[in-house]
């Protein structure tokens, strides 16, 4: 895939070189913490010891304890695996659906194109959080509901980008020449379409992941997302908010983690205004 990315010299130049590297580093640091932290210091995000409530850091809990005496270090690590995992699954599903349907709309045209565009436009008019909330009410299980709801919201962006890029490429003289030379659709897809679409998809994926993580945290913060004992970034913030005077660092840990992760993803997406 990196070969395809490097080959896309025709794509419009983006101001991303420095920002992309910094963003990728920030994302890697936060995700690395989520994966590696439990291996460095063994512990459990659910075990309570009320005598240590809001206590400072010690060997078993390097970031101190929350209001129920649970290790913040391990809760944060768990939260930093949960949201990105849901976001990655939703982005992968939405990306695949968007690529497939966008390519179909561009290749077929006609009523297939019009019908798909109409569905996408209708979804675009509804707030994403509202759709996620409705799907959460329909689906059993919160994580599954988040995955389905976010996929439903995010595929529209991939669809629109794929459709717009594919239409332009398929109408180009280069593709016409390939077809006249007798190359099949698979060749056109690999040699002409993918090199144009791949960099656009990368940007959209980073932005989509940021949107997904924001949505999960926002719904957690207003107590309609993940349920209570689960460590989740927004939920941790709203749980620790009442104690912020006694333990400001406890509230700051999820805040800093969320901000770092989102900043990294936004920098990776580049200066794409929305």
């Amino acid at each position: 895939m990196s070969g395809a990315l490097a080959a896309s010299g025709a794509a419009p130049p983006r101001r991303r070189a420095g920002g992309f590297a910094v963003g990728a580093a920030l994302v890697l640091v936060t995700l690395g913490f989520g994966v590696l932290a439990p291996l460095v210091v063994a512990g459990d995000p659910f075990t309570q010891s009320l005598t240590k409530a809001l206590g400072g850091p010690d060997a078993a809990a390097p970031f101190g304890y929350d209001h129920l005496g649970r290790s913040l270090f391990h809760r944060l690590a768990h939260a930093l695996r949960l949201s990105p995992a849901i976001a990655a699954a939703a982005v992968a599903t939405a990306g695949a659906a968007g690529l497939l349907l966008g390519g179909l709309a561009a290749a077929r045209g006609g009523w297939v194109d019009r019908a798909l565009t109409l569905v996408a436009d209708a979804l675009l008019a509804l707030p994403g959080l509202l759709l996620v909330l409705i799907v959460l009410a329909i689906m059993p299980g919160t994580a599954l509901g988040f995955w389905a709801g976010l996929s439903l919201v995010l595929w529209v962006e991939f669809f629109r980008l794929t459709r717009a890029t594919s239409r332009a490429v398929l109408a180009s003289p280069a593709v016409e020449a390939s077809r006249l030379l007798g190359f099949g659709p698979l060749y056109v897809l690999r040699r002409h379409l993918w090199p144009e679409i791949a960099p656009v998809m990368l940007t959209a994926a980073a932005f989509g992941a940021a949107t997904a993580i924001m949505a999960i945290a926002a719904l957690g913060f207003v107590s309609v997302g993940m349920r209570a004992p689960t460590p989740e970034l927004g939920l941790m913030m709203v749980e620790l908010l009442p104690y912020w005077r006694e333990a400001p660092f406890a509230l700051l840990t999820p805040v800093i983690a969320t901000f770092t992760l989102l900043l990294g993803l936004i920098l990776m997406a580049g200066d794409r205004a929305r």
Binding site: L118, V119, D121, A122, L123, L124, A125, L126, P127, G128, L129, L130, L131, L133, I134, A137, I138, P140, A210, M214, A217, A218, F221, V222, V224, G234, M237, L241, W244, V255, T258, F259, L262, L263, L265, I266, L267, D271, A273, R274
Partner: protein
């Protein structure tokens, strides 16, 4: 023609809302009748008889397809029914809450337009300058901050630590400042970037340099030749930001206890009050289409070149 496509979009939105809320009604985890009865009579007063009477009254069992057609028929006759919880007509409830939300949303848009575009234009006139670089950093930081996090920071800093403004409440003018600021800063971050890019683009054109060459001052060039061009992408962005604004309203109203439509929507989803969810979702979706149709028309007036 663009208005026709907006009308089609409105129709598709209505259909989507109708089908998804119907699915919500049908596929509720647990027994919807029990949830609705609990919402009506309180969790301590629910028994099988109450649930059965709710089920008979609302026709909660029976085949799906006729029920869906009837559901959509009611929707297209703009008959939203009554709230399952309060028993009031949905339209009346929503009309009441919409006022409070509009107040908040308009304050937020006005505030974001006061902050974002002026800074963006100023930065765009000197690309690469100190203001431009500072704005890039600030805009990136604000875009990476979710609205609820901004609301949290504002509550902790401004109302708890400094004690300048109340953290919650509704009625007096000072209550609207913090929630609208929490919404406006995120919107302003994007509109500042758009205004900045549009301004640098305009300032690089031949007609701009000619206007300067013939002796107009910077302010005059900007006023006569610049602002109208900058307004076009800004207005388009404003239409797209409507969705961001509505999402923000849902979250920010819940945090600040603002009695608007977002607050009502979250409660309705919790109480499985499907008619209210449907009415609110339809109103928000059609609101988006209406705002964008109005912006389509306004853009034609500002920039008539595309209308050939």
């Amino acid at each position: 023609m663009p208005l026709l496509s907006r009308a089609l979009q409105a129709l598709a939105v209505a259909l989507l809302v109708g089908v998804s809320t119907f699915a919500m009604m049908r596929a509720l985890p647990g027994d919807a009748a029990w949830r609705i009865a609990a919402g009506r009579y309180g969790y301590d007063n629910v028994d099988a008889a109450a649930a059965a009477s709710v089920r008979a009254e609302l026709g909660l069992d029976g085949p799906a397809l006729p029920a869906l057609l009837q559901w959509l028929g009611d929707l297209f006759r703009l008959d939203f029914g009554v709230s399952l919880v309060s028993g009031q007509p949905v339209a009346a409830e929503l009309a009441h809450q919409l006022g409070a939300s509009l107040q908040l949303a308009l304050a937020a848009v006005a505030l974001s337009l006061l902050i974002g575009p002026p800074l963006g234009v100023a930065a765009g006139l000197r690309p690469g300058g100190a203001l431009d670089r500072a704005l890039l950093v600030a805009a990136t930081a604000f875009r990476a901050t979710p609205q609820f996090l901004l609301a949290l920071v504002l509550i902790v800093l401004v109302s708890v630590e400094l004690g300048w403004l109340p953290a919650a409440g509704h009625g007096a003018a000072r209550h609207v400042i913090l929630p609208s600021l929490a919404l406006a800063l995120g919107l302003a971050a994007t509109s500042a970037r758009i205004a900045r890019d549009a301004t640098t683009e305009i300032a690089a054109t031949a007609f701009w340099r000619f206007a300067e060459f013939k002796g107009l001052s910077r302010g005059q060039v900007l006023w006569r030749h610049g602002l109208r061009n900058v307004a076009v992408p800004l207005l388009t962005l404003l239409g797209l930001q409507f969705v961001t604004l509505v999402e923000g309203v849902v979250v920010v109203e819940t945090i600040f206890g603002w009695p608007g439509i977002g607050h009502a929507l979250v409660h309705a989803i919790f109480a499985r009050d499907v008619p209210v969810v449907q009415g609110a979702a339809l109103m928000l979706g059609l609101g988006f289409v209406a705002v964008n149709a109005a912006i389509d028309i306004a853009l034609r007036r500002i920039d008539p070149r595309g209308a050939a």
